[in-house]
């Protein structure tokens, strides 16, 4: 058959005496000029599946069963030397992190030529000419051949990587989260490039993604993975018209959208079963809203719920219905629960006001390191946030939004401008006064894996700020820790445990609790959900909304994710090159943008169809 077919693939990893099965009985196929998306949250086994196809599994992992054939040729039967010709030749793969996926000490030309030499026996001038053609095919100038990776932007690096992988003229290209690390406008360009290349070259494309919107824009067919298995397999149109597996439905339900403002987002309770768990029945049973007795006893088979639309669910079996069939019926569906609005009293007070704030970094040159120029990271920004209000600060990487946050908190000294928190200018504060003021303004960072001190227990992390900034005695602090853990939905025994014992979502709850501990009025949220899966993101967004309603907190929500902005923020400020280019109410700005750059951002967001 044409294209790539995967039958009953299972991967095992032996780790510390346990046998993990991150991929279990996975089957799918990619037609010769088709795009298939492998969709799932982190840890579901989608990347391991791809590496298994390439026979590039990390050490300790092995293919336990299954068959992969490329145009009818069984890849797992090939000797390693023959596989070396297939890998990077007929079957190629690009990766998520353009920052680290290229060899930093080799030029683009050297890295492309390696592949040309290996697969097409091209050397010297012929190779160089072909490398130039490949660069042009991926939308880069020929003169980029002599560039080193550090001289390229993230998007350019991803293009260069694609050029390297096209060098072997692949029949199937695997793209593992190719745009996850990129800005939204660059993401749109790279996705368009991949789509064009796929069509022009009649190439199969396996797109691995966690993003429902990206899959919708790109794929012809979609395989949804959960806990090592494919749980749903359908054409894109059929899947997006009506998902048949409760997990897929949940994935749609947890997405924040402008239309869902003020609603509590649906969430996915519980956790994915660990890859060494022996689950007798359905792996999703413990989290499934439609679960019934049979789900816990018998593992569901793949059923064709509609023509060409398969789901690994008992409910997709034509004869089966749940004893109580009402769970999915829209008529009886519970009204989405609403988050109570913040109490109106005292909300008019301005918590944060920023006037003409600028942060310039000196550029030094020469023998005496004289300042020859300034890099204007933040260049005259003004904004204001009232109590109980969320202002979203939107912009792409390098626009200065994180620098702005640090300048507001006086974690770095602004060049000029004024910041007032709760009416008091913080520019003139120093020493004890500034430290006391810090209790009123707190920040939650993007990466919950590196922003908590790994050698401190959760209780210590929460207590540290209180001990420094609040006049609380030790027993009162301990009582407050209990209260905080409860508020952010963590078990009470968490206080005695270390960060590594918690998942990403739980750690972000710890980070939020840490910020809340000192009773701030202003919370700066710097991409607080970007490192999290969508189901976890929904929980964190719900938590943030509840906390805001309860305490009338002012949020400065820094993000690049426009749907989150629409869901959470009352007002939006769009930042570019150190300046705010447009500011306004969320509904207006997101539906009728005035500035060209805002329009570009909105148009680049995936999920608007092709």
């Amino acid at each position: 058959m044409k294209g790539l077919s995967v039958e009953n693939l299972s991967v095992e990893i032996a780790a510390g005496g346990r046998l993990l099965k991150p991929v279990d009985d996975v089957s799918f196929s990619i037609g010769a000029d088709e795009c298939v998306a492998l969709l799932g949250e982190s840890g579901c086994g989608k990347s391991i599946t791809a590496l298994a196809l390439m026979r590039l599994l990390p050490e300790g992992a092995r293919v336990a069963a299954g068959r992969v054939s490329l145009q009818g040729e069984a890849l797992f039967d090939l000797p390693e030397a023959a596989m070396g010709e297939v890998r990077g030749g007929r079957l190629a793969m690009i990766f998520q992190e353009p920052q680290t996926s290229l060899n930093p000490v080799m030029t683009v030309a050297e890295q492309i030529n390696e592949a040309l030499a290996a697969h097409r026996k091209l050397r010297g001038d012929a190779a160089l000419a072909e490398a130039g053609r490949l660069l042009e095919a991926v939308g880069l100038e020929r003169d980029r051949l002599t560039a080193y990776p550090f001289q390229l932007s993230g998007g350019q690096r991803q293009r260069a990587l694609i050029a390297m992988m096209l060098a072997g003229e692949p029949e199937v290209l695997i793209a593992d989260e190719p745009t996850t690390a990129l800005d939204v406008t660059v993401q749109a360009q790279i996705l368009a490039l991949l789509r064009d290349l796929q069509r022009q070259r009649g190439m199969g494309l396996l797109l691995i993604t966690h993003d429902l919107d990206v899959a919708k824009d790109m794929a012809d067919r979609v395989a949804v993975m959960y806990a090592g298995q494919i749980v749903e397999w359908a054409s894109r149109d059929s899947l997006y018209a009506q998902p048949r597996h409760p997990y897929t439905e949940k994935l749609f339900a947890v997405l924040p959208r402008l239309e869902r403002r003020g609603e509590r987002l649906d969430s996915l309770p519980g956790r994915v079963p660990p890859p060494d768990a022996r689950v007798a029945g359905c792996r999703f049973a413990e989290r499934c809203p439609a679960v019934f007795a049979r789900c816990r006893e018998e593992a569901p088979a793949f059923h064709e719920a509609a023509p060409g639309h398969f789901a690994r669910c008992h409910l997709a079996e034509p004869q089966t219905s749940r004893p109580d069939a009402a769970w999915r019926n829209p008529g009886s569906a519970r009204e989405p629960s609403r988050i109570p609005p913040a109490p109106a009293s005292g909300l008019q007070s301005e918590v944060l006001s920023v006037r003409d704030l600028a942060v310039h970094f000196p550029v030094r040159k020469g023998l005496l390191r004289r300042t020859v120029d300034h890099f204007k990271a933040v260049d005259g920004v003004s904004l204001a946030i009232k109590a109980g209000e969320t202002l979203a600060l939107v912009g792409e990487s390098g626009c200065g939004k994180s620098t702005l946050a640090r300048a507001i908190l006086r974690l770095l000294e602004p060049t000029r401008g004024e910041v007032r928190v709760a009416g008091e200018a913080i520019g003139g504060l120093s020493g004890e006064a500034l430290r006391r003021k810090r209790a009123e303004m707190q920040i939650v960072f993007q990466d919950p894996f590196s922003s908590l001190n790994p050698r401190m227990r959760i209780g210590e992390i929460l207590e540290e700020g209180m001990a420094a900034l609040l006049p609380l005695a030790a027993p009162a602090r301990r009582a407050r820790i209990t209260q905080l853990l409860d508020q952010v939905g963590l078990p009470l025994d968490a206080a005695g445990r270390y960060p590594h014992e918690f998942s990403g979502g739980q750690r972000q709850r710890v980070a939020i609790a840490r910020a809340l501990a000192v009773q701030p009025k202003l919370l700066i949220l710097d991409e607080p959900t970007s490192a999290l899966d969508v189901s976890v993101q929904a929980q964190i967004l719900n938590l943030l909304a509840e906390l805001q309603a309860e305490y009338g907190l002012a949020y400065l929500f820094i993000t690049h994710n426009l749907p989150v902005v629409g869901y959470l923020a009352q007002r939006v400020a769009v930042m570019r090159a150190g300046r705010i280019v447009e500011e306004g109410a969320a509904e207006t700005l997101l539906t009728a943008p005035r500035h060209e750059y805002t329009r570009l951002l909105l148009d680049s967001a995936p999920g608007r169809g092709r």
Binding site: M54, L56, R87, A92, E97, S101, L102, M106, H119, M165
Partner: protein, 325 residues
């Protein structure tokens, strides 16, 4: 680049001055010039007169930092610190306490030192890296495990054992080489081979394990996965990609010692009777010859700083991201 070099040379001045002051202060905290004179004169002949004479002959009759008897600039200049320490900045090493010219000693003794240190350095580097790459190529197999066990065993043995063991086996039992000694000219190789061999073997455990760890860190990186995904052979991945990038941390440890090679090795030279700068330093320490010790410490610091500058320069050769400005 030129800016950078000039700045580094300027930085070096206060560092060397500090080293100078520190060695000077340390030495004279332990030893007064009177003590030195006593040691050199020997216990029998010590009279106050002899001490005074020895001090004035060797220039130790001045105060340490401040001369109240002198006038004007000489108040600061006519002191032990300026006479004995600061002159080093002009590479004026002066005479040792036994009267011999230190500069001339350095010039003759650096060649035997270099004759051992340079081959040890080059052969060692090649051996350690090859051995480490071999282990990495066979990673996860029994060969790798055995290699690591061997490394740990080798690094657990004291360096002196290799010296004595080598002398016993290769010198006494097998009669391959003379046990110790040195002879200038073409026959020197007979005396050099064993010290070189012993030095290389003595540190192969340590170094191979260190390089193996470096390669492992590199091999786990994303660009190596990309190289494999291109369909390159494992050998090409190792040599072109892993080694190319691992050169950056390797150079950090390696280039810095190059200028100091001709200062020789203290232990090896003493045990094998090589008349190099290493054994010169050891002898001077035993004889409490401050003039030689401070010269060697100063020279060592100077060459260390030079080594650091060379390290920075070498980065520009292997890492295109580094630009010195």
């Amino acid at each position: 680049m030129l800016d950078y070099l000039i700045r580094r040379v300027l930085y070096a001045i206060p560092i060397l001055l500090g080293v100078n002051l520190l060695t000077f202060a340390l030495f004279f905290m332990v030893n007064t010039p009177d003590d030195m004179a006593r040691i050199h004169l020997g216990a029998k002949h010590v009279t106050a007169e002899a001490i005074t004479r020895w001090k004035s002959e060797h220039g130790y009759d001045r105060p340490l930092f401040f001369n109240e008897q002198a006038a004007g600039v000489a108040k600061a200049a006519d002191t032990l610190f300026v006479e004995k320490s600061l002159k080093l900045f002009a590479l004026d090493f002066g005479a040792a306490d036994d009267g011999r010219d230190i500069a001339r000693e350095i010039k003759t003794r650096m060649w035997p030192s270099l004759a051992i240190a340079l081959p040890t350095f080059l052969i060692g580097l090649l051996a350690y890296i090859s051995f480490a790459l071999l282990l990495v190529f066979f990673r996860g197999t029994r060969l790798d495990t055995a290699g690591v066990v061997l490394c740990v065993a080798l690094m657990s043995i004291s360096g002196l054992f290799y010296v004595i063991g080598g002398q016993y086996l290769m010198g006494k039992l097998w009669h391959w080489f003379p046990i110790s000694g040195y002879q200038p000219g073409l026959d020197a190789w007979k005396f050099l081979l064993m010290p070189v061999l012993v030095s290389v073997v003595a540190s192969i455990g340590d170094s191979a394990r260190f390089y193996r760890a470096l390669f492992f860190e590199e091999i786990a990186k994303d660009y190596v996965r990309t190289a494999r995904a291109k369909g390159l052979s494992e050998l090409r991945v190792l040599f072109r990609h892993v080694l190319g990038n691992a050169m950056i941390p390797i150079l950090t440890g390696v280039v810095v010692v190059i200028p100091r090679l001709f200062m020789g090795s203290l232990i090896i030279e003493s045990f094998f009777g090589i008349p190099g700068l290493g054994s010169y330093t050891i002898d001077a320490i035993q004889a409490q010859d401050f003039a030689i010790v401070r010269s060697m410490v100063f020279l060592g610091s100077l060459l260390y700083i030079l080594g650091l500058v060379l390290t920075d320069l070498s980065y520009t050769l292997v890492d295109p991201r580094v630009r010195l400005e």
